[in-house]
């Protein structure tokens, strides 16, 4: 139970941190994209091959 309460508290604390985010107010100049290196987070893996389980 203690672990559960701790995890709820951690999730809530992280959301409070997120509340400090501020959204950019203006669209950027498209020319600024030239040469920008960016990172994209994608979720999960489609299990089209399966680990051997036996």
């Amino acid at each position: 139970m203690k672990r559960k309460i701790a995890s709820i508290a951690a999730a809530t604390a992280a959301l409070v941190v997120l509340a400090g985010c501020s959204t950019p107010s203006e669209a950027p100049n498209p020319d600024d994209a030239k040469g920008q290196n960016i990172t994209f987070w994608l979720m999960g893996v489609t299990p089209r091959t399966l680990s051997v389980t036996t």
Binding site: K4, S7, I8, A10, A11, T12, A14, L15, V17, L18, A19, G20, C21, S22, T23, P24, S25, A27, P28, N29, P30, D31, D32, A33, K34, G35, Q36, N37, I38, T39, F40, W41, L42, M43, G44, V45, T46, P47, R48, T49, L50, S51, V52, T53, T54
Partner: protein
Amino acid sequence: MADGGDTPDTLRDYLKTEYKKATGGTLTIEEQGWGDALAKLQTALPDADNTPDVTEIGNTWSPTFTNVGAFSDISDMYDELGGDKLLTSFVDVGKVDGKNYALPYYFGSRYVFYRKDLYAAAGVEVPTTLPQLTEIAQKLHNDSTSGFYLGGEDWRNGVSWIFAYGGDLAKQDGDQWKSSLSDPKSIEGLEALQELYTSASNAPVTEADSTPWVNINTQPEAAGPEAATIIAPGWAHWSIGDLAPDPKDDTKQVATWNDEVFGAYVLPGVDGGVAPVFAGGSNIAISASSKNQAGARELMKIIFSKEYQEMLGANGLGPANSDYVSSLGDDQFAKALIESALGSKLTPAAVGWAGVEGSGLLEEFFGKVNAGGDVASLAAEYDKKIDELINKS
């Protein structure tokens, strides 16, 4: 949210190539597991030095992030990226005060996979109602094979029984949400789920993130499969079939679908038709703290292009733009995906919903129900616990 899914390597390579062509820059794709992605996003998004510039998110997490300003306002791009052709329910959970912060990436849905060979041997047909499904599962069930394999804590599949009986996880009253597990219709659905689990599933009651496509396949040297019937996201069909060693990697197996052995059908409703299932799929957004806003917007243009949308469909992921749904094809999987997605439901668009999911309360609740607990008293207990989180940003 979502679960599973996801973007095959050919699509990832396409994005990298097109991004390079468009900007001259490098697109780095970092893969995150669904299990810890929520916590990682909560830490990374406010940190300009470590945030992803663009991120996929579970569709049900959108309200939590959009309401705290974690994403950039992309309303000015909305029409260019598809506008009214984009999946409305996913667009809506990514909006705040009429502005677009997160847009749909792909949609998925859940349907039923079954063993034709076991159904034939038992002399049972594909059910047309949900109570019939339970009866059939009970007939097929024995100590080594679940008539219907379903993890006890697997709420993302189990919630379809609440939806099917007309219940819901929470209801909105003004600007507040209240957990509605105690609603009589929710109780009815939970009792039906409990009957199915306790009489026809050998899956552990503590199993939350089920991989039932493993259980419906016949593993090497096993006498038979562990499951006669499962429910899973549509993309699971890639992992269901006759197993053989992967010629590229002998530590793995490849499943080849076999129409003689395996089949698929949509989860039937209580009185027939199609039951509402939990919608799968993701949204996508630009981090508000990204230092590369212009590059991130270029990537969004590539993702919402006709070419990429059709690539999603060709790989069994429902395109965000309805103009390209035909790219899913017309095989049994595409038909089941579209038919089940039409009536599918999202989790509540409450600001605190991601907190509810992150708390593990739903896993606890469904596990206790499926362990045979008193549904009404458990529902009352967990309504209170969920109400403490569901409106918190």
